[in-house]
Symmetry: C2
Subunit: 70 residues, 2 copies
């Protein structure tokens, strides 16, 4: 099965890349309230694999990141 | 509205970060067929914003990346 783990910096954290994208888009005339830039990890694993365990143990830093599995 | 642009390296491209994650997970005993590591850009924009245009013009390199909007 294919699953995606979406990892984003927690809201409110200083996030330079997101801020840079936001400013650039505003300069280009888009009305952008907020931008966060994070990582997506697409995994092709066997049915039944504990993707949550993989995410929490190896992929996500819970101090500064939040994640969702899709 | 909030939208996410998921950007992944095209399949078949040499993708060192994905390969590293795959090998690490295999070493840890997980049965992982493939891993791709990409970016997720979460945008908070006004209703009706042409997110596809933003993605294609500013966020995605179509030579080496593919994307989906969620």
């Amino acid at each position: 099965m294919k699953v995606k783990v979406l990892i984003l910096p927690k809201k409110g954290l200083l996030e330079p890349e997101g801020r840079a994208v936001r400013e650039m888009l505003r300069d280009e005339g888009f009305s952008v309230r907020e931008v966060r830039v994070g990582k997506v990890v697409e995994l092709e694993v066997e049915e039944g694999t504990d993707v949550r365990a993989i995410a929490e143990k190896y992929l996500v830093n819970p101090l500064v990141e939040e994640y969702v599995i899709e």
